[in-house]
Every structure is written in C-alpha cells, then in structure tokens.
Symmetry: D2
Subunit: 312 residues, 4 copies
Amino acid sequence: MPLTAASGVYTIAVTPFEANGAIDFASIDRMMEFYLRCGVTGMTILGVMGEAPKLDAAESMAVIRRVLAGAVGLPIIVGVSAPGFAAMRALARESMEAGAAGVMIAPPNSLRTDDSIMGYYRQAIAAIGADVPFVIQDYPLNFQVVMTPKVIREIVRENPSCVMLKHEDWPGLEKISTLRGFEQDGSMRHISILCGNGGLFLDFETERGADGAMTGYAFPDMLADVVRLGASGQRDAAHDLFDAHLPLLRYEQQPGIGLAVRKYVMARRGIIASDVQRKPGGTLGAKAKAEVEYLLTRLARIDARAALQQAA
Amino acid sequence: MPLTAASGVYTIAVTPFEANGAIDFASIDRMMEFYLRCGVTGMTILGVMGEAPKLDAAESMAVIRRVLAGAVGLPIIVGVSAPGFAAMRALARESMEAGAAGVMIAPPNSLRTDDSIMGYYRQAIAAIGADVPFVIQDYPLNFQVVMTPKVIREIVRENPSCVMLKHEDWPGLEKISTLRGFEQDGSMRHISILCGNGGLFLDFETERGADGAMTGYAFPDMLADVVRLGASGQRDAAHDLFDAHLPLLRYEQQPGIGLAVRKYVMARRGIIASDVQRKPGGTLGAKAKAEVEYLLTRLARIDARAALQQAA
Amino acid sequence: MPLTAASGVYTIAVTPFEANGAIDFASIDRMMEFYLRCGVTGMTILGVMGEAPKLDAAESMAVIRRVLAGAVGLPIIVGVSAPGFAAMRALARESMEAGAAGVMIAPPNSLRTDDSIMGYYRQAIAAIGADVPFVIQDYPLNFQVVMTPKVIREIVRENPSCVMLKHEDWPGLEKISTLRGFEQDGSMRHISILCGNGGLFLDFETERGADGAMTGYAFPDMLADVVRLGASGQRDAAHDLFDAHLPLLRYEQQPGIGLAVRKYVMARRGIIASDVQRKPGGTLGAKAKAEVEYLLTRLARIDARAALQQAA
Amino acid sequence: MPLTAASGVYTIAVTPFEANGAIDFASIDRMMEFYLRCGVTGMTILGVMGEAPKLDAAESMAVIRRVLAGAVGLPIIVGVSAPGFAAMRALARESMEAGAAGVMIAPPNSLRTDDSIMGYYRQAIAAIGADVPFVIQDYPLNFQVVMTPKVIREIVRENPSCVMLKHEDWPGLEKISTLRGFEQDGSMRHISILCGNGGLFLDFETERGADGAMTGYAFPDMLADVVRLGASGQRDAAHDLFDAHLPLLRYEQQPGIGLAVRKYVMARRGIIASDVQRKPGGTLGAKAKAEVEYLLTRLARIDARAALQQAA
C-alpha cells in the first residue's frame, strides 16, 4: 500500500550474499523474520548499506520480490537512486507494481546550488511519476550535497508525493527543529522524519520531533524501544537504554567498515549465514573482530544488570 | 575483433533522440555513415557525451547493436563505467558478444589514493574478465580522480588486457611525454594513447606522442586531417587547419553546454534529425545559437579562403 | 580613488621574483610601465595568479605599495581573500589607506548552499567595512563554489559597496545575459562585469554585456584592442584579432602551468627579469618552451600578415 | 624544548574571546591552570578548533606567548598550516623562538595523489627548516586528503624532523595497527601517535598502539585517566570511564557545532569567561543548551554512582 506517513523504526536491510557472491535468499527470509520480531515498523532496501549498486537490474528486482514476500504487510521503501532517470523510473515503477510502499531518492553529488537540488527532484518525480510516494534522502556526509531546511520545504511544496525525509545531516538536530517549526508556522505541510547516521543521535532526534529511525544498526529492537520509551515520556529510560548501546553503535557507524561490522554481528547472531560483501567492500581484521566481541560482551553484561535491576 | 592498438580518430558518438525522448535509430544510421565518410578509424559509444547514464540497460544494448550494424568493421569501444561491478560485467560481456572491440572504464569519483585507483582497476578487470580489451579513461576535471603516470604504468603492468589510455588530464602534454618516456626506458609496455578534452590540445598532443584523438567534435574530418598532416610531417599545415577550427572547438568544449552545441551543429548539418537531449541536459538559448552560427560562418569563410590559396 | 565602475582591461598582475625567491621590485616597476603602455584601464594584484598566498603579510603590503607607486592613477584592485576575517580586514584596510581602488573577495571552498554564500559576503563586508568597494570573484572551477545569478543579485542588493563581478564561471555566457537581464527588468542595480578564465571567451563575453576582461594573458594589448573594437562595432575585426591569439591564449590558460607560460612569455619579452615562481609552482619543460616559442612565431607571422593587409 | 616523543593527552586548546571579539587573555591563564590540573601532558594551539584562521598574524603570536607563559614546561605544539610557505615559515620560526616544542602541519585540500602529498611535506619542511620538530595532521574528513600508511611511512622516512602523527582518519583503528606493524617489521622508525576525532575511538586507539589523545574534549581529565588506566592494564575500568562520557563526547564531536558545545561546557565550568566565537562560528540554540545540560546531569549522576561503588 502506498505510504502516507511513518514512525518507529524502518530498518535498512542488508543484502546477504553467499561465499561465492550469489544472493543468499534463504538468509533474506531469516532476516525478515528477525526484523519482524524486533518490532520494526517498516524497512528500506537497496540503500547504500544494502549494497544496491553492486546488484544488476535483475538481481535488484529479485531481492525486492523476496523481501516483499516476507514482509507480511510491513511497508517497504526501495532506494531507486540511479545515475539516470530512465533506470530510476524503471526500478521505481517495477518496485511499486511488485508491492513496495514508496521509493527513496538521493541527490547526485554534482549538485551545488539550491535551484539545482530542487530542479533535480522535480525532474526525478516527473520521471518516476507523481503517483509514487517518495522519501528525500538528505545525507551530506556521503553525497556532498547540502540541503537547507528551506530547500527541503520547497521540494515538499512542489511535490505532493513527497511523504518523508530521511534525515542524516550532521549536525542535524537544529534542522529537525527548524522543519517542525515550518510546520507550526504553517509554511510547510507535515511530513514524516526518520533519522539515519547509524542512530548516533536518535536519543535526541525523537525529542526534537523526528518520528523515529531509518537505519540499520544490528540491534533494531533497541532502536524500536528507544523510540517507544521516548514517545511514552520515559526520557531517562530511553537514554539509559540508548547509552548502553552507544559504544557498539558508534563502532558500527564508522564509514567504510560500518557495513562489515553490521554484517559480522548479524552473522554471529545467526540472522544471516555469512558476513560476505560483494566487492568493493570493507572487511574486519582479527583485531576489529575481537573489539566487536568485547563490545558485545560488555553490552550483554549491561543488559543482564538492567534486567536484574528491573526485576528488583 | 578485439582491439590491440588504435590511432587516428575514435569519435565519441552522440546518442540521437526524437522529440519525445525515444532513441532515434534512423539518425544513428545516418550518423554512422557520416562518421565513416569523415575518415574516423574507430568509435566510442555510451561515454559521458553519449548520455549513457540516461539509457536503461535494454536501451544501451539496443544502441550498441545498431551502431555495430552500421560500423562495417570499424572498431567500437563501449563505455561500461557503472556504479557497481555486476552492471559493468553485464554490459561488458554483452557488448563483446555483440561485436564490440573493447570497453572503456572510468574511475569512480570517490578514489583518493594511488592504491585505491590501482585496486579499482584490478577489481573491475576481475569482474569483466581478463579477455576483454579495455581503455583507461583519465579525466580528472570530470571525475575528480588524479592518476599519476606511475599509477597508469602500474595499471598497465598489472592488467595485460589494457590496450589504451583515453587521455584527458588537464594540463596533459607532459603526461604524454612521461608515459612515452616510460616506454623508451623499458619500464612500461606500449599502449595506444588517444586524447580527449574536446580536442583542445590535439595539435600538440600528437607531437608529444599521442596516437590521435578520442573526442566528439562536430567536425571529425578536421581531427582526422590534423592527425594525418601531423603524422606526415606537415606541422604548419596541421596547425593552420587546427587553428581555423579552434574558435568553434573551444566553444563546443564548454562544460555543461558542450553537448548541446555539438548536437545543434550535427542537427544543422543534417547528420541527426534533432538536437534533443534527455533530461538533465544543457540547452542553447537564442544568443548561443546565433554565436554558433557566427562561428560556423567564419569557419566556412576561412575554409573557402584556404581552398582558394591551395588552388592558386 | 575608490572604484565605482570599470571597463576595458584590468590586468591580473604577476608577482616577479628573483632567482632566490626574493620579490623583484625592479621588475614590478618595468611591468607597470609595460601594462600602462598596453592600454590597460586598471589592475588586480594579489590574486591567484599573483601568487598571493606565497607572500607573508609584510611582503604583500610591500608589493601593494610598489604597484601603487607606479600606477599613476590607474585603479588598483587588491585580492584580500584570506582564511579568516581578521587577516582579510587587516589587508583590506591597509590597502585602501595605501591608495587601492577596491578589493576582491573569493568565497571559501566549503560553502555549499545559497544562504551560506550570501552569509559569507555579509560577514566579510561587516569585517572589512562597508566603505570599501569590493569585487565578487565567481570562479567555480577553482573554488568549487557555484553562485547562481539570483545569489549574485542578492549579494549586490545586500551590499551597496559591491561594485563589480569578476566573472569566470564556466560556461558563463548565459550568466552574463541573465545578470544584464536582471538590470533591465529592474530587479538588480547595475554593476560592472569583467571576465576572467584567461580571456578564453572574451570575444563573446563583451557581446553579451560584459564591460571587459580581468585576466593576465601575456598580451594585454590584444585584450584591450578586442574590447575597444567590439565597443566600436567592429565585430569581425575584434574576432579576427582574438582568433589570431587564441592558440597561445588557450595554451596559457592550462590549469597548473598557466602561470609558468605567462611568466615565461613575459620574461622572454623583457617585461620581468625571470620567470621564477615561489614553491609550489608549475614549471615548463624543454618541450613546453619549444611549443610556446612555436606559438609565438606563428603569432608574429599572423600579425605581420595582418599589418600588410591593413597597409594594402 | 624541542619535542622528540609524546604520550598521554595533548589537549587542543580553545582560544577564548571577550564578547566584543577581543582575545581574552585572562581566560587563557585560567584555562592553562585548568589543563595543568587535569593532568594533560602537552597542548596544541592554533589548530582548527583553536579558531586559528580567525586571528591575524600579530594575534597568533600574542596567543602563543601567553600560552607559553602559563605552560610551566608543558610542551606546546603550534598549528602552522597556512595557504603558503612564507606565512608558514614565519609562524613556525617565531613560535619555536618563543619556546614552542614543535609545529603541526595539515595538507591543503587540493592534494590528490600520493606523490603530491609527499612533495608537499618535503617543501613545507624545506620552508620551515629541518630543525623544527613537526607533527603530521591526518584528518581526511576535514581536509579531503587521504594518506595511506605507506605515504605516512615515506614522509617519516624523508623527514627526520617528523616526530608525531596526529591521527584522525576515520575509520582509523587499522591504520594505527598497520603503522605499528611497519615499526615492528623495521620498515619505519618509531613515531608518536596521538589521536583526534574528538576522542570518539580513544578507548580502542590506545589498545591498537596509539600513545594517547590530541583532542579538545571539555573533560581532558577523563581522557588522561582513560590513557592511564589502559596503560596500566585496567581495560574494563578504562572502558567504563570512557563509556560514561561517550554520550556527551559524541555530542561535542558534531561537526560545525562541536566547538560551540565545547566552549559552552568550558564557560559553564568557569574555565573560560565566555563561549563567544569569532565569526564564522556555530552557536547553540536553547534546545541544544538544554540537551548539553541534560547530558552533564547524567554524567554527574554516573560519576557519583561510580564514586559510591569505588567507596563500597
């Protein structure tokens, strides 16, 4: 069903591969079950962390269909950023026909002015069709494109099919406040805001007005709990839980090797069969793996302590 | 037939579109006849100036097949740069099976160290197969990746299937001399060097040791004549001819609108039916068109004068 | 006298050095006489091509004073771009007190949004004082900052002390037309526009409404003549003269070695004693020098032929 | 005394200003006392976070002298990165004469090849003199220059006056291991490694072989304790302490507003009189200040709890 609003946690799904580089569809199924168990409210596939550019067109559609098959009604957003509008349109239309809830579009890194950014989204929406709900991906650290709140407001105004901002500007807390301020002063209609950046500021992002997270941290249940605790006014509890995960979350958020950490943890937890990435991809050396293990051990100890305290 | 060496002019073919954005296959046929008449020795398709990223996968193969059908033996290089190796491999293998002579690979703009550039070509060749002749595209102005002569030498050494450098570093004359010096001191095997940059320095590039041009200037016959005159030792005549075209050639080489100028001239000469570009594309205003017309008039006058002088 | 408007040719002065790297003040004097003889209407010093960042603060002021001493009334613009506003203010105030006509300010390469560019000029003018006439330097190829015509209009509106645009966007002809259009529709007050980019498009820039050139091509007399011929309606003559110089001008405009070519030609013409640059600087190898010599010979031949034709 | 090796914590000093933008020398004195109390082993001034580019040349030297006056023997590193070598040399020589222990040099953001990075350091050291101990600042996120371990090894080999790496690559843990591996296999002499990035990975950096931190987190005593605990084999205690600070440390490490957070906390702790920055500078809104206060409150609670546990 086409997306109109979102909250909670839209996990960024990884794409599992077998040792020979083939897509591991069995792991996709297991991963879907895991995400559903974690209480995620939606999912985003074929994003940067889904190794989307490493799939060819047929593989992309195969992944989309398998994920949709296991989604049991969970809304699925498909990343359709592409070097050109023909490929973007093809992927967007096929995805929606297959049952996706919407698409996500990132700006190409050549855009350098406010007008060029707004013009890009105008042309992209003309290409994919105004009936396809879309998410703006605002990720300057990766794309080198900076969108001011005014530019985002203008994209929202020009394109009624814009339903969400994936927010991963950095720093970004004031941006959330500014956008929510635009809604309050009536200059912008409401859109959903889900935050990325690996969740590194999720504890405060929801307090600023974000609806939740869109990121792929290997413990999506923690993200979901933090959003839930925050929404129910349990501020300290939300921060306690978040802070317990912060050492690992920060470790996973390292550029270049973040996906390797995430896949390693997911493989170790039995969610996917292998942490293999297609080339080019980061890998973890023995020392890095030991560091992750140490962080997992510390996390388990803190969790145990918290359980004891709750029981007491 | 797989390419082993090249000289003369490999024209960068445009991709002609109809007013509605559909690929104009009739214009491709006419364009092929034109290029053959001009004395080009090869052709490169689906490069930056061929609007490659604006085609979807099926369209790319359709263009490749139509061009190959009209090439009557002329070697065709296919640009296969892609965001990932799966798509690159698919396009490269299909192109070679269809009869292409080789492929061209540009580095992604995220590469920032010598090792990462060499590693990229290593992985790319592993992906497409070591049996596919390939051309290194060295175009820092566009790709933000700078390859030193030593890095190019290393890529050539590591990859026996490297047959050519498309040289469009800027400034680049010393780079040609350095690479040819490597060949003379025995530290690098010989590869072909064809130069881009719209031909802006072709007059001296061949004198430095380049084998010719790989660029799409709307008068490929001039480029071919300049290479021929230079090769036969007629230096002044080569420069006279080149200089006569330089005002227009420089105008066509403007980033952002260069392709619009090129397609306008080609449409006006009846080579393609329309100068339409797919979005996003530059367009020429009335003043720019008048400027191109003025440059064409001046070019015609100079050509006429030269013909008179030769007759005298 | 503070600058209010400008036309003709503001040459970008080089900074001559002795073999040991010391500033060559005698050559500055000779250079000033040369520029005056060439018919330039103003001068810009301590720009990128004046090796400004290679001078310390005291040296910068010494160069400014020496140039002003030889300027006999010619307006002198001083480049005051600096990593911070304290240094910018110091250089701007000292320059104006010493007799400069105005200053030129380039945006730092970190600016990525329209608002940040306008904000930067607002802060810069607050720092140097609203009484100092200033020139916007719009040079995206070098600074990676893209200013749309609307942003320039806003800077002009916000800052009454803005008197000129140094235009070296690329492509840039439409930008001149757009800005002049703003003046005609009353949305922007008139400012002077002088063009850079080594003069590569000067032939058309003046036709689009630019007031002339601000660039350092080693034959400023040609630039001045082209502007003069254009202004008096002798279009073909302007283009004939320009085209005769285009092969050398293009050669001099190569990034990285352009200044080496310029200083080589100026030293060879006896204008400065030596073509030495402070480090880091480009140098010309033997082949490049021979190429410049060849271009100078061809230029002399064409000049001689033109003189004969005029005499006939 | 010229620096030969370093360990522990070299704090990156802020530059305190009065409300009117003047340098606040009294706060410098108080800040020096604070840093000494915290157990820092050295200090770096006029770095990015010291607002160095916002000072003019005379102000820079005044800050250096005041800091040296209060340093009572603590080694002081001065950031001397400058747009040109003349200014770099002047600042380096004056700093060393005034009593600095060494200088820190960052690569300019235009460098794009291994050779150009090595060449830059060669020219810089030739400019400042081979007798001045220097620190390589390796900070790709900010400078866009990526130095491989091999390039760092080469800079160390070529320049005997290189005594330290300020390591803030990201991700960077493997880089530390690789460099220490070079020392073990005898291919590189030993240098000190102090880590930046706001301390975000200090817990593991020391375990990988780094000698400590060079960063300006507002609680330098924590950084010093973490290094000390790690060095004495108390791994869990080091991580416990580090993790307690991580929520605030992460908040302070946000690009753009990090310095505003740091100065706010320092002003609130009475270390400097005001959190004023010179323009351009980030500022904290009311919500951000409240967030910092909340983080400080949580930190105090955790500290109290830890004290209780230790007492128990």
